[in-house]
Amino acid sequence: MAVIDYGMGNLHSVASALAHVGAERVVVTHDVEQIRAADRVVFPGVGAIRDCMAEIRRLRCDELLQVALTEQHKPVLAICVGMQALMSHSEENGGVDCLNVIPGTVRHFGQPLHDVEGQRLKVPHMGWSEVRRVSEHPLWSGIPDATRFYFVHSYYVTAADRSLVAGSVDYGVCADAALARDNLFATQFHPEKSHTAGLQLLRNFIHWTPSC
């Protein structure tokens, strides 16, 4: 299993959480051969999108990801900024074109932000929010609907094709919390930081056999 390392932030927590739930030989790498040889790929990300995209392109992680997704048909899990990088375009850093693997936008929450009762909401959206199940998926196995996961983000994803939305979260707006298409699953929340429920999702990922 390969965790794609494009030099942004701490990837140890993803790798150690995967190892904790039983993943064997987890490598954190941007080496072409290692990623090609892996049977599963995790595409994480933290930090600002402009720097992320620059590193992804410089290290040709975008091509590796495409190969894993559409040629090798390997299970791929994208997390947080990894999910945002899959979209068409992000508003962050004055506007950055992303990978367009999943058509859709990444927008700022905007301020002032309020919930339905008129309470002011802080940005970043930081902490534990309930994820509403939008579609059934093997990665939700053993996780009750409306379970809380750990989020930390100031920008949120809206996929153009709403049939790809696997989970959503309310935070002043209705944001896509999880997207699923064929052998790809993407989460805005951090499963590696979401305690028991997050570990269950990662366990589901390492046992997932996509039907495509």
Partner: protein, 257 residues
Amino acid sequence: MGLAKRIIPCLDVDNGRVVKGVNFVGIRDAGDPVEIARRYNEQGADEITFLDITASHEGRETTVHTVEQIAEQVFIPLTVGGGIRSVDDIRTMLNAGADKVSINTAAIHNPELVRQASQRFGAQCIVVAIDAKRVADVDGQPRWEIFTHGGRKPTGIDAVAWAVRMAELGAGEILLTSMDRDGTKNGFELGVTRAITDAVDIPVIASGGVGNLQHLVDGILLGGADAVLAASIFHFAEYTVPEAKAYMAECGIEVRL
């Protein structure tokens, strides 16, 4: 249902041991940080904060090793603070497994560090810690100032204005400690908590002075805090994290159960 208010047990660590002092003096040993962090993770804590109060160079290396060990076993967010002075220090802690770093004195000496760190690593992992102490009122209005050196050295900086500036520079969160209350078990200083939560759009963690569960509730309902941090009530098993959450839920606060 919205965002849960967070409970954050805090480990003050000196040379690899969790300690707890009263007003930063009178240190008491509370045990092994890795074991304690694991216990809070199992109890359902929402995050863990690790404050390194070690002054020596050797102690710093111990800290990096301890953070690595905690990160291997704890699958909730981990914030590390204490002695963070540069972008390199931040990188070291993030690489060791921290999810966020807390910057305190270095932000006062060099506010640009907050901007640089936020641009490099993202606002989500930059916490600015503010140690505030009440000073003489101005025109009948209470005023709080930033203090350094464990609350002994005034800086002349207004705590509320400082919080606003840190948010503008790219801090993702404020960790607010009342130096008047820290270690006293008399509850948070709600005046400064409210003033800062009202003034900034980023989350605020209230810290300093928790002695019972009502204090946690007051920090959120009266102080407006997004998260509450406590040390000794959990370390010395006066209360468990589930007891704290159950009480908060009874008081109408949304928590992760």
